[in-house]
Amino acid sequence: MDFRVFDRARRQVGPLQLDLVESYAQGKVSRREFVRRGTVIGLSLPFISAIISACGSDDGGTSGTTGTGGGDTTAAGTDTTAAGSGTAGGTIKIAAQKPVSVDPVAMQDLGGYGLVAQVFEFLVTLGENGEIAPGLAASWEPNEDGSVWTFNLQPDVKWQDGTDFTSEAVAATMDRLVEAGQSGLKGVITAGAVDSSDPTKAVFTLTGPNGNFPYLVSVFNAQTPITPVDYAIGTTLDQNSNGTGPWKLVDYNPSTGARFERNDTWWGGQTLLDSTEFQFFDEIGTMVTAMQGGAVDAIVQFQVIGGDALLNSPDFTVLEVESSTHRQIWMRCDTGQFADKAVRQALAFTFDREQMVETLFRGRASVGNDHVIAPFMEGYDDTVPQREKDIEKAKQLLADAGVTNLTATLHATAAFQEIPELAQLIKSGAEEAGINLEIALESLDTFYGAQWCPAEPPDPPCSGAAELGIVDYGHRPTPDVFLNAALFTNGVWNSSQYSSPELDAAFKEYQAAVGVDAHQAANKKIETILNEDVPVGLPYFYNYLSGNSTNFQGVRVSALGQMFLEKASQV
């Protein structure tokens, strides 16, 4: 270790950053985790590099994205193709899901996220390695306990109408998000949380310490792009597209697609492509066909099932992003046949997780352990024993609980990605342990409205949920929303009606943890409690798949359907 460099670096940082630096030096966190965590708490990349160099460590990669495939596979977010050096000019045509909403505050779907992110930017954006990186905020730093975060804004940023971008827009955007009850920020900030007295700084005062706050104003909290001060709730992208981003919306048709042209005054420089065209689709299968047939140059998302043609094509570059997208098999903990923890554990012991990963994703997923902390998340604790398929143990648990001839209905959506196939795999595994599951595949409306989280009775939320079902959860970089909404007592998506004072306390501890040790300790508690109580079975986290024709390079994508094209070009 180069102590001279190390000591000089240590003197430049605050207590939170110092804790991380020392944890890294002591080997408590890996290099990958150091980079990820350091970025979150505001360490600059040169500083991180200096520390890594001083410590002389080389224990892992920095990329959160991996993948191999028949086609040319790159880690999304990793700009491996020397973007910026390609052929200037041209248009890229992109196959994207038809957006349900393009209201930046209220949008809930990947189609909307992808479009809005072309025009409006986030304080914190997607970095080269799939991590977070400076966006409209050039840098940020927390106070000593992580309850106040200061974001220093990029200089010389202008809205497309030529006016200056200032912290006033950040404050107004956050107030709108608070008013709309945005799920990630709910309980974290309140109205008026942002001090915009200095136009170059946005100072957030949180309701309490939060070590993950930059994630909540990043691309990974998709409703938080910064919009102008006068951007009222309910305004949609096509009604007001006065953003700061690299692209200007020139045409939008909700049925067919959208066209963007280069924003020549973008603060980040000039894009190589002249324009981009998003073509809307209802079906992912049609998107794959369009890609195969050369009708589009890139596809925002596709699935392994039905996507073989692209995965095996030499003309296609697969962009694969490690994500926390997963399915939860919820079991009612408060009433019915699964109220006994042993019965829930028994069902979880019938899952053949490796088989699921192979059958449903050809290995492009990681095995889950019945808790919501994905292996790539900061502070993931791999010492919690992995639950494996064990039919004998499942039978024993059922016998101990005095349960015989368990019969239940497994509710799931009829036409949503791999869920029907997953239901079949769960049923066949359960049968081996003598559990008879009837699969009820339902329309999206019936499933979400009547089985997963019915509006009635309203209190507590989801108390009208079915006894057993499979529900989908999209990617989040941290487990906050999964825990807060699905597993916290009276959470808004708590279909298992799980209520554990231990988990609630561990979650609070996790949210407040800003130091490395506290963070890891809280994670371990959460993993252990959920793995033991099994309010939800969680068999896997699967990777997000996207890609582009090999005629283009420099395309990057997040696991939330946002395609970043500012560095894209023709080969």
Partner: protein, 318 residues
């Protein structure tokens, strides 16, 4: 004839009224909260209530029904819940696209099918006749989405002869637009060829056996004249009727085909509106398809009346 047309128009108004009532009942069967849908699951209830008030979603049902009736008369359905745009704008664009696809589909289907039907009828019980009948049966039993996917894969993806999607690039000329529509139009041909050809064959056989045809032949008229003046005029009446009723379906019912070729016509618009509970858009689209049904059925009846003087006289007398 004028009296017949007026009677039919009056009947259409009654049918339209019934259609609007049925549409209203259907879209109100399922409980829904459009304000919540638009504002998102975490929006405060006050925001949702305000939205519902603005959209008129919490008005009493009779008020909503009256509004739908008024909208049908003025054809102003307000804004789409989902897209925050006038329903009319969305509808007319989709209608125009559907019209192009339907026109091309029928332009290709009708001459081929009628020619095949007449060809088979004139060679009754020969191998040529049996070939047409068998081919027609086989093709009409294939659902449009199956033929669509097959054509798309073979002609579009594998051979690369035609575009795999139906929407042409921006600024495309009419010929290029036509090229993009060919694959879905071929899928329509596959489905309707058998139906129309068999209908034409049966009508032609009946007409060829009729006394007036025998008389025309004995009068020494040429085969061509007999066919055009006496046989086809009578033989094609059921065919015209079938085509008339099929047009309405083609406008609104090609959901799967439109999804496969990513063609934003009326079918996929109805699908989107139904799946997203966009009540103004759904109501307007269904009513529009109903009107198209009525218009084309009326046109078919008028053509039949024109082709058959007896029908015209019956219509005038009734």
């Amino acid at each position: 004839m004028t009296r017949y047309v007026l009677r039919r128009l009056a009947l259409s108004v009654v049918t339209l009224f019934l259609l609007v009532t049925i549409v209203f009942l259907i879209v109100n069967v399922f409980p829904d909260d459009p304000g919540r849908r638009i504002a998102g699951p975490f929006a405060p209830q006050e925001t949702v209530d305000l939205l519902n008030e603005r959209l008129g979603a919490d008005d009493p049902l009779p008020v909503q029904y009256g509004r739908l009736l008024r909208s049908t008369v003025t054809f102003d359905f307000g804004d789409s819940f989902q897209f925050s745009r006038p329903v009319g704008d969305l509808l007319w664009a989709a209608l125009l696209r559907s019209a192009k696809l339907v026109a091309l589909g029928l332009f290709l289907t009708i001459p081929i099918s009628i020619a095949a039907g007449v060809f088979a009828a004139r060679r009754r019980n020969t191998s040529a006749d049996r070939s047409v009948v068998t081919l027609g049966l086989a093709s009409s039993s294939i659902p449009d989405f199956v033929s669509g996917v097959t054509l798309q894969y073979i002609i579009g993806v594998k051979l690369g002869l035609l575009p795999v999607l139906a929407v042409p690039p921006r600024g495309a000329g009419p010929l290029e637009e036509l090229e993009y529509l060919l694959l879905p139009a071929f899928a329509i041909v596959v489905v309707y060829f058998g139906y129309i050809a068999r209908m034409t064959r049966a009508g032609t056989i009946q007409a060829l056996d009729a006394d007036y045809t025998r008389t025309a032949v004995m009068k020494g008229l040429s085969t061509r004249r007999v066919l055009s003046r006496h046989v086809l005029r009578n033989a094609l009446q059921p065919t015209v009727s079938v085509i008339g009723t099929s047009v309405g379906y083609l406008f609104g019912g090609l959901v799967a085909l439109e999804l496969i070729f990513n063609y934003p016509g009326l079918g996929s618009l109805i699908y989107t509106a139904a799946s997203r509970k966009d009540i103004p858009l759904l109501s307007a689209a269904v009513i529009l398809v109903g009107i198209i049904y009525m218009v084309f059925t009326l046109i078919a009846d008028l053509i039949i009346a024109w082709m058959n003087p007896r029908a015209r006289l019956e219509a005038a007398g009734s």
